[in-house]
C-alpha cells in the first residue's frame, strides 16, 4: 500500500478506494476478473448459438420479381415457426431477385419438392416469407434448390379500399345533403309523427284529411247504434222463438203429429207389401199361361200345315183343278 496517498480530505475520503485493507485482495480481484471474463465469453457464445453459427444449414434460393421488404436476417416461417433465415438478397442476371435462405437442417424435412413459398407484406409488421407443404410424403427439397415465391401485398389493396371508402363517403354526403331524398323522407317522417301526436292520431295520417277521419268516426258511431238495435232485435227474436207461445213449441207439436203420421204410413206400406205379394203370384201364373200358349201355337201351326197340305193334295187330285202345266207355243 505504499502507493496509496494519505487521505486527509473529505473528497478523498469519498472515494470508493479507502485506506482500509482488504483481505485476500488478489484472490478477490482475480475471481472478479474471471467472473467478468466468463460472463462476457458466455454471452458471446450464447449470441453465436442464437445466430445459428453452430447449426448446420442447407441453402434455398427463392426467386421473385420484387425484393421490397426483404431484409437480411428476416425469418422464413413454416406453420408460424421460423425454420430459416435470409442470408443474402441479390439480383440475378435475368433481372429477378434471388433471396438466399439458410434453412436449419433439423427443420429442412418440412420443405418438400411440392412446397409453396409466399412473400407477404402485411399492413402491420414487416414482410414475411412463409413456406407451405401440402404433401409431406413428397421427396425432400434438395440443398441449393431454387423455387419461385408467390407475392402478396396487403398494401396494394389500399388504393382500391381508399377509392371505395371515398365513394361511400360521397354517397353518404349525397344522402345527407340539403336536397337529398333521405332528408325529405326524414322531414316527412317528422310531419307524420307530429300528426300521430295530433288530435286525429293515426286516423288523420291514414285518411290524409280530417273530414274523412270524421266520417269514419261517425260510421263507427252508427255501427255502435246498429249493434245496439241488433241486440234488442235478438232479444225479441228469442222471445218469439223460445218463448211460451214461441215457434219452438208449435214445432214440437208438429213433430209429434208427424211421428203418428209416419206410423200410419208404415201400416199402409205393409198393406201395399201384401198386395204386391199377391200381384207377384198373379204374375207367376200369367208367365205359366204364356208358356202354354207357345206350345198351343206350335200345335196350331202343325195342324194348319197339315190342312194346307191336305188342300194342296185335294187341289192336285180334284178335276177342277187348274191346269198348272206350262205349254210351249
Amino acid at each position: 500500500m505504499a502507493m496509496q496517498p494519505e487521505l486527509d480530505t473529505p473528497v478523498q475520503n469519498s472515494e470508493p478506494t479507502t485506506a482500509r485493507p482488504v483481505r485476500h485482495l488478489e484472490l478477490k480481484a482475480a475471481l472478479l476478473l474471471v467472473f467478468t471474463a466468463l460472463l462476457v465469453a458466455g454471452s458471446a457464445f450464447y449470441l453465436l448459438y442464437a445466430r445459428g453459427v453452430f447449426e448446420p444449414t442447407q441453402r434455398l434460393v427463392l426467386l421473385t420479381d420484387d425484393s421490397e421488404g426483404v431484409v437480411i436476417g428476416m425469418d422464413m416461417t413454416f406453420s408460424g415457426f421460423p425454420i430459416g433465415r435470409v442470408r443474402r438478397v441479390e439480383l440475378a442476371e435475368t433481372g429477378n431477385v434471388r433471396i438466399v435462405v439458410d434453412v436449419a437442417q433439423k427443420d429442412a424435412h418440412w420443405l418438400r419438392t411440392t412446397s409453396v413459398f409466399t412473400l407477404v407484406r402485411g399492413l402491420v409488421g414487416g414482410t414475411t416469407i412463409r413456406a407451405f407443404s401440402g404433401i409431406l410424403t413428397d421427396p425432400a427439397l434438395p440443398d441449393g434448390a431454387e423455387r419461385p415465391v408467390l407475392r402478396g401485398d396487403a398494401t396494394a389493396e389500399l388504393p382500391r379500399v381508399l377509392a371505395s371508402a371515398k365513394e361511400v363517403l360521397e354517397n353518404l354526403g349525397a344522402m345527407t345533403s340539403q336536397d337529398a331524398a333521405l332528408r325529405a323522407s326524414l322531414a316527412n317522417l317528422q310531419d307524420l309523427t307530429q300528426k300521430l301526436k295530433g288530435p286525429r292520431g293515426a286516423l288523420g295520417v291514414a285518411f290524409g284529411n280530417d273530414a274523412d277521419a270524421a266520417k269514419l268516426v261517425a260510421a263507427l258511431d252508427r255501427t255502435n247504434a246498429l249493434l245496439a238495435r241488433a241486440d234488442t232485435l235478438a232479444a225479441k227474436a228469442e222471445t218469439q222463438v223460445f218463448g211460451p207461445q214461441g215457434v219452438m213449441h208449435e214445432a214440437q207439436a208438429t213433430v209429434a203429429q208427424l211421428g203418428s203420421l209416419l206410423s200410419e204410413t208404415r201400416d199402409s206400406l205393409k198393406k201395399v207389401d201384401a198386395v204386391l205379394l199377391e200381384a207377384q203370384g198373379i204374375g207367376a201364373n200369367v208367365r205359366g199361361a204364356t208358356g202354354d200358349l207357345g206350345s198351343l201355337r206350335g200345335e196350331v201351326e202343325v195342324n194348319l200345315r197339315k190342312i194346307e197340305g191336305m188342300i194342296n193334295e185335294l187341289n192336285r187330285k180334284w178335276p177342277l183343278a187348274r191346269d198348272t202345266e206350262v205349254k210351249l207355243p
Binding site: M3, Q12, S14, T17, T18, L32, T36, L39, V40, A50
Partner: protein
C-alpha cells in the same frame, strides 16, 4: 507528454473561450490516448501499480455489483410487464419480447451501467485526483520519481472501464433471464423461441454497435472525470469545478454516443 500538457495549459489560460473549449477536449482525448498507451506498456505495470489496480478493480466493482444488479432486475421486471401487457392489449404480443430486448439490453442497461459507475466511482475518483493535485501530493510523487498519471490515474481509469463492462454484462444477463421468466414463466418450453428472438435482434451490425457502445461508454465515464481532475481543463482547478466539468463533458459524450448508436441501429 509533459511538454504538450504545458502548452495546453498555457492555451487554456490565455486563449479565448472557444479555444479553451477546444483545448479542453483535446486534453481529454490526449489523456485518454496516453492512458491507453500506458496501459499497453509493460513498463507501467510495476508491482505498486498492479497492487493499486487490483485494489481499485475490486473496490470499484464488487460493492456496487449486487446493488446495481438488483436495481436492474427491478427495472427489467417493471418495463417487461408494461411492454408485454401493452403489446397484448394491442394484439402485438409477438413483438413484445423483441421490444423488451431492444429497449432494455440494447439501450437502457449499458447507459444505466455507465452512469452508475460514473456517479459511484469515476467522478469521486476524479475529484480525489483533483484534490490530491491541489494539495501538492502529485508534486511529492514526482519528486520521488513516480508519475502520478501511471500510479494514480491509470488504475482508477482501468477500474472504471472494468466496472462498467462488468456491470453492463451482468445486468444484461440478468435482464435477459428475467424477461424470459416474465414472458414464459418457470418453464424451458420457450427457450428455443426466446433464443431465436435474441438471435434475430442481435444481428452482426447490432452486436458490433452494442459492443462498441459499451466500450466507449466505459472509456467516456472513466477517462473524462480523471482528465478533468488531473488537469485544469477549464476554470481555476477547484474541486467543484473539476467535478462539474467532468460531469458535463461526460454527459455530453454519453449523449453523442447514444445518439450515434441509435442512428446506427435504427437508420
Amino acid at each position: 507528454m509533459t511538454g504538450v500538457s504545458t502548452g495546453l495549459q498555457q492555451l487554456s489560460r490565455t486563449g479565448s473561450a472557444p479555444l479553451r473549449w477546444l483545448a479542453g477536449w483535446w486534453r481529454i482525448v490526449y489523456f485518454g490516448a496516453s492512458l491507453l498507451v500506458l496501459a499497453l506498456s509493460p513498463s507501467s505495470w510495476r508491482r505498486e501499480v498492479r497492487q493499486a489496480l487490483m485494489r481499485h478493480l475490486y473496490l470499484d466493482t464488487a460493492p456496487i455489483l449486487w446493488w446495481f444488479t438488483m436495481l436492474c432486475a427491478l427495472l427489467t421486471l417493471v418495463i417487461t410487464r408494461i411492454v408485454v401487457v401493452t403489446a397484448l392489449s394491442y394484439g402485438l404480443s409477438r413483438y413484445a419480447l423483441e421490444m423488451v430486448i431492444r429497449v432494455l439490453v440494447l439501450e437502457l442497461i449499458p447507459l444505466t451501467a455507465a452512469l452508475f459507475v460514473a456517479l459511484r466511482c469515476t467522478i469521486p475518483n476524479g475529484a480525489a485526483l483533483a484534490e490530491m493535485r491541489r494539495t501538492g501530493q502529485f508534486d511529492a510523487l514526482l519528486r520521488r520519481g513516480m508519475d502520478p498519471v501511471v500510479t494514480q490515474a491509470l488504475p482508477r481509469a482501468l477500474a472504471g472501464i472494468f466496472a462498467t463492462i462488468t456491470l453492463a454484462a451482468l445486468s444484461c444477463v440478468v435482464a435477459l433471464v428475467l424477461a424470459y421468466l416474465a414472458v414464459y414463466g418457470w418453464t424451458l418450453a420457450g427457450a428455443p423461441a426466446y433464443t431465436h428472438v435474441f438471435g434475430h435482434v442481435f444481428n452482426p451490425a447490432v452486436s458490433l454497435i452494442f459492443v462498441l457502445k459499451t466500450l466507449f461508454f466505459s472509456l467516456a465515464v472513466s477517462i473524462i472525470p480523471m482528465a478533468s481532475g488531473l488537469y485544469d481543463v477549464e476554470g481555476d482547478g477547484s474541486r467543484e469545478s473539476a467535478a462539474l466539468q467532468g460531469l458535463v463533458r461526460m454527459f455530453a459524450v454519453l449523449l453523442v454516443l447514444e445518439a450515434a448508436c441509435l442512428a446506427g441501429n435504427y437508420s
